[in-house]
Every structure is written in C-alpha cells, then in structure tokens.
Symmetry: C2
Subunit: 300 residues, 2 copies
C-alpha cells in the first residue's frame, strides 16, 4: 500500500536517508526541511534528482519545525494535495556539546524547541487528519541516551531527547483508541555518517566552559569524544536507521513494533527500554487502561 | 555540621516541608519562593512563625526560578550573607493535566521553563561558589515517572521531569571532580498532601481537548485520575520526601546515595532506575571515565 508520509529534518542525516528509502519503497514521501529556496536549495535539487533517477515519489517540502505557521502551512498543503496523510516521521533534531553549566537557559530552551516543541507543532497540525481517518502511524526518532549510557558534555541534548521519548510514550496511549499506531526508533551513537556530531561543537557560554577546562576537567572534551568514538564500531552504518523506518512503515497495521533499537555501540538502551516499557505497560493494566497498549482497528 | 541550604519552590508542598525539616535538623535554610511581598507573604509569615516556635534557622528568600535576575540576586545574597553555600535543593515544579495534543508549544515551553530551566538558572548562579569551595551537594527532586509508570494526560509534565532527571545525571558526572556530590530524590505520585494535583487541572487548548472527550476518550480524564488514586495508599505521607532530603543532607560527604525512592504506589521507578543507573555507570567505565561516579574529596 502506498502511504503519504512526511519526514521532518530531511535535509541531511537520518531524515534524508529515510525519506529516500521510503520513496524507493513505493510511498509518496515529503522530505520536510526549512529554507528550501535558500540554504537547502541544493538539498531540494538532490531530492529531485534522486526521485528522477529512481522513479520514486520524493518531494521536498518547506517545513520549518520551529515555526507554527510554517508547520501549519506545510502539513496543510500535504493534506490538501493528497486528501490524506498516513505517516508522520519525527526526525528533526540538533545536538550541542559542552559542560552543562556553560549553557544559558535560553540555549537550553532553543534546543528543547528544535528537538521537542518541533514534534508538538507537527502533531498539532497533522493529528486532526490522522484522527479523522481513524488510521495512521507516528514514528519518533528517539535516542539510545534516553535509556542507555549518557556520556558527559551532552546534557542539554540528552535532556531534550529524554523529554521527546517521554512525550512519544504518552502520545502512543492517547492515540491508540483513535486507531493511530506508534513506533519509536532508537538509534545509538553514530559519530560518522551524519552531521550530528560535526555540528554539535558549540559550547555555550565560553567563559564558563573555560573554568572547567582550567579546573579538574582539563582536556575533558577530547576525552569524552575519544571515549565515545572508541565504542562506535568502524562499520556502523547510518543507513540501518533508514532501513528500520522503512521496515516499520511496511509492516501491516497493528503488527508494528513499539520500539526498534539500532545501536551499534550497544550502550544499554535495549536493556533499559525492555524494562521501562514493561513497567509502563504493567501500570496501565493495573489502573484498568491496558487497552491503550494496542491501537484499535477502526478503519475499513 | 551546619549547612547553608537553599530550597526552591518552598512556598508549599515538598519544598515547604523539606525546608522546615532541614531547619529543624540544625541547618541554615533559605526557603526560596517568588513574590514574597505579595501572593506568598502568608508563606513568609508561616516560615517565620515556624522558625520562632522551633528555634530553627528558617528564612524565606525571594527567588523566582523563572527569572535569571531574581535567581542571580537571591542566590547572590545568600552567598554574600554567609560567605558560602553548601546545599542546593532543586524542588520547584508544576504539573498540567490533559491530552498531549491539547497543549500549545508555548505551554510546553512554559512548563519546561518552570521544571527544568529553573534548575539551570539556579545552577548557573550557585555552582561557581560550590566549585570554588571544592565541596557541595546538589539535591534534585525528580519524579518516579522518569523510570516508572506514566499514565496518560500528563505528557508535558512527564516530558519535563524526564529532561530534568537526564540533566541531573549528567551534571552529577560534571561536578564530581570538583568535589560536589549529587543525590536525586524520586518521589512517586502523592495525590494528596501537596497542591501538585489540585493545581494541575489546566487542559491547554480546550477545543482540542473537547475532540478527545467527544471521541474515543470520553470520560477519560476521570478514568485516569481514579486509576491513579486507586494505587496511592491512603496512608501515603508526603513528609516522607522531606525526611529523605534531611537524611541525605545529614549523611557524610562521599556516603550519600545517588538516588532515593519514596514511592508509596510502587510504580516501578525503583526497578527502572536500578537498571538505568547501572547501565549508565557501565558506559562511563567502558570509556575510561569511571572516576566520575564518585565525588572527589578535595576539601580539608
């Protein structure tokens, strides 16, 4: 079945790979990105070239997930053009690196906006349509840090991803009775193959960071990055995340996994989430809401 | 030993109880709250009365954790008056209730500000002093939802607390080499004894919430609250949280527990955190940073 799919943050990284792989799998895919006429014009061209070369239905869509207006317009247009929207992939995200204390509250707020409020904007624009259809799929690209190891100097990012994962879990229960299914993709650290780490070098308030460097944390940034790289296997392949998303989408309704881990470093998230998701399911059963764990099949 | 302690959100609930219990245990305690000359003037008076009656050193302090300026001034004054600051208790927090989709991005941002950015403001004002002392304790009042059951209709709060807990864990590693210890207090649901649930009844965007009520989630708000209440034992005593904070503070440096659970509902957080904290510790050892797990003893 051909699904109408929107992927956020699809100008690069997991998002670009996933939107191409989904289009190649036969779906109508909107690769959401901001600034399609400016900074990301080359990425729009790349998407068009990919579509032509692979006879795939891949369309770049203007979608600045930090703007209510842009998200409402972008999602609205997809729905208007297709009469439906089947799958939302929450992928947009950004990382920062440095001592937690060195980030201003404003910088933490900005990172929460990019990683978490972004999903809320897209949900509020898209879910009314999915609820009306009584059928849909929401895919969240979480992070193994939410239930696995959390190295230092990445606190603002880990905080935001922990929040995003918590939001995803509760949304799943609040959408299941509408016939909307949820799958959470949990990638581990991929230090190569995306711009995630390369773009993360901002350290917030430089004076504060310098105090750590001059104190007992001399050389610590490099220690953390070296330690991190040492546990990522050299053959870690970012396309595994895109493949996992395609597999989830192509699985029939009601059979999709609640979580999929793609974690070459084996940082423990698979173990942590097995425990946490079990505990959460038990609580729902205990308070008489166990039905929320399975999406209702309401569509004909 | 007499510690100089600041407790945030101390006008009511856990914060008010903890600041009184700490003062009664012989410490110099600043009960931080906003609007000490207005809305919270009665709470200031109560603190004064408690201090007089119990010969305890309890002082209300103007501290609006949503304002950089107020936090800088409030913490700055405590340090100036005492020449030191030994313990920070991050307790301020707020809960909202309703379907996740019904909250605007602005409402989510506001809740993140109260629950998470608040701690960042206090940390940025207080930690330079604690680092200078090469000794201190940071206590975080987290939530069992971060590793236990998460009932529906509390998504924005659970997201914020998950972020706060993630921040606490990473801060712990980035402060241990400075001789600063971390303890995370994990309260379960206390539906009585604090204003937490009573004040949480805002439901965001009312039209959106009404769609859930008119759809497959009719009567759901009451179902969730009833289910929740059914698992809180009638004798659940909120003062247990305050007692746990006093016990942590009164434990000698280096011997304090990383986490303490006070969860009468037994929602699973104790199990979840045992797994998560173990996984996180293993990762640090694996990348050669195991020393971060123990605070250095640098003070004489």
């Amino acid at each position: 079945m051909k699904n109408v799919i929107v992927v956020t943050g699809a100008s690069s990284g997991f998002g670009a790979l996933a939107s191409r792989a989904l289009a190649s799998s036969g779906h109508i895919v909107y690769a959401g990105m901001r600034d399609t006429k400016g900074r990301n014009a080359p990425q729009v061209l790349q998407a068009q070239e990919y579509a032509a070369k692979n006879s795939a239905d891949l369309r770049a869509a203007e979608l600045d997930v930090q703007s209510d207006k842009s998200v409402e317009a972008g999602i609205g247009k997809i729905i208007a053009d297709n009469g439906r929207l089947d799958v939302v992939v929450h992928n947009a995200g950004h990382m920062v690196f440095g001592p937690a204390e060195a980030f201003t509250p404003e910088q933490l707020a900005e990172l929460y906006d990019i990683n978490v409020l972004s999903t809320q904007r897209v949900n509020r624009a898209a879910l009314p349509q999915l609820r009306k259809q009584r059928r849909g799929l929401v895919v969240w690209v979480s992070s193994s840090s939410t239930a696995g190891g959390t190295p230092p100097y990445l606190a603002p990012y880990f905080a935001a991803k922990a929040a995003m994962d918590a939001l995803a879990v509760v949304y799943a229960r609040e959408l299941s009775r509408w016939g909307i299914e949820t799958s959470i993709i949990v990638p581990g650290a991929f230090t190569g193959g995306t711009n995630h780490f390369a773009h993360a070098r901002s350290r917030g308030d430089k004076a504060r960071a310098a105090e750590y460097e001059a104190g007992p944390y001399t050389g610590f940034a490099d220690q953390v990055l070296k330690g991190f790289s040492s546990i990522v296997p050299p053959n870690a392949d970012v396309s595994a995340v895109a493949d996992a998303i395609v597999k989830v989408v192509d699985t029939p309704f009601g059979k999709r996994p609640f979580r999929v881990h793609i974690d070459p470093t084996q940082d423990g998230a698979e173990v942590g989430n097995a425990v946490l998701d079990r505990i959460r399911a038990e609580l729902l059963r205990r308070i008489g809401l166990g039905d929320l764990l399975t999406p209702r099949d309401l569509a004909q």
